[in-house]
Symmetry: C2
DNA sequence: GGGCTTATCGCAATAAGCCGCAATAGTGGT
DNA sequence: ACCACTATTGCGGCTTATTGCGATAAGCCC
């Protein structure tokens, strides 16, 4: 299997736990927390410790299989890396999350690079604010 | 004193602890964590509890005197609000932080508002990436 | 298949932050 | 100056996200 080989090639090992983390991420449609994944796995395999999930996410990230980003709380969110790169909008009021085509962020990235020499990773942190729905609700009140 | 009055007008009180938090923030040149502030205050006033610092930061934020933002770790960073609103660049490699004129972020904010109905708070989360210095170092190696 | 190295695991501990509660202390009124 | 009212404090304990550490087991060599 392809992924096993890449793991071993990097001096890592394929374990039951690692496979379960990968599968859980593949099933998850949205950006999930390490705890989400741990909970899902532990439903069937209670002996697997949450810390193992954390460390496996890191390991898989180093190999480029998964990515993390930060929303408005202090919890890290994870998703598969093979889905296309995208930005994130998160509503501060209702918590709704929305993906954003990366091209929309390009002009800012370019200016930061040209004017500040800063190579920004604009997909890494979610942009927080108030979504359209919540905006309307509060203006109507 | 102006700030005392505004506190009282909102049904709050000016206390020694609150004043110390404000002063610590005024002296801090950068974006500091709640723990930084607690540690500094407790160096001279060990009886002041960290939880008091947390609560005062929240209270002062509600009154608009301080603001928090999120850098690349899971720790909240605080700074005075009366300094002009600004974005943040944080280097993933060396941790250097840099402030950013808010105007630079305006075009993106406008597009998000116009095209997505999303009122973004672009100053709230730091933009992470690789700063000019680290960029040069790694390309030279 | 058995032994050896060391990546990985599960458990216990830590770090950041929050909450309930009884005691304390600003404030406004007298 | 004193009182009553209640915001705020310090304390202890709790929660959530993550990390240190000794035990376990994956993968390589024979």
């Amino acid at each position: 299997m392809e992924i096993d080989e890449r793991l071993r090639a990097s001096g890592r090992r394929m374990t039951v736990q690692r496979r379960l983390v990968l599968e859980a991420l593949q099933r998850a449609r949205h950006h999930v927390t390490a705890d989400d994944i741990a909970t899902r796995i532990r439903a069937r395999h209670p002996q697997i410790d949450p810390s193992t999930v954390y460390r496996n996410l890191e390991a898989l990230e180093e190999l480029g299989y998964v990515t993390h980003s930060h929303f408005d709380d202090r919890v890290t969110r994870w998703h598969r890396a093979d889905a296309q790169r995208h930005g994130h909008l998160v509503c501060r009021s209702c918590g709704a999350e929305q993906e954003l085509p990366i091209e929309l962020l390009e002009p800012l990235a370019r200016r930061l690079r040209d004017e500040h020499g800063f190579r920004a990773d604009l997909a890494h942190s979610a942009i927080v604010g108030i979504c359209k729905v919540c905006s309307n609700v509060s203006s109507v009140q």
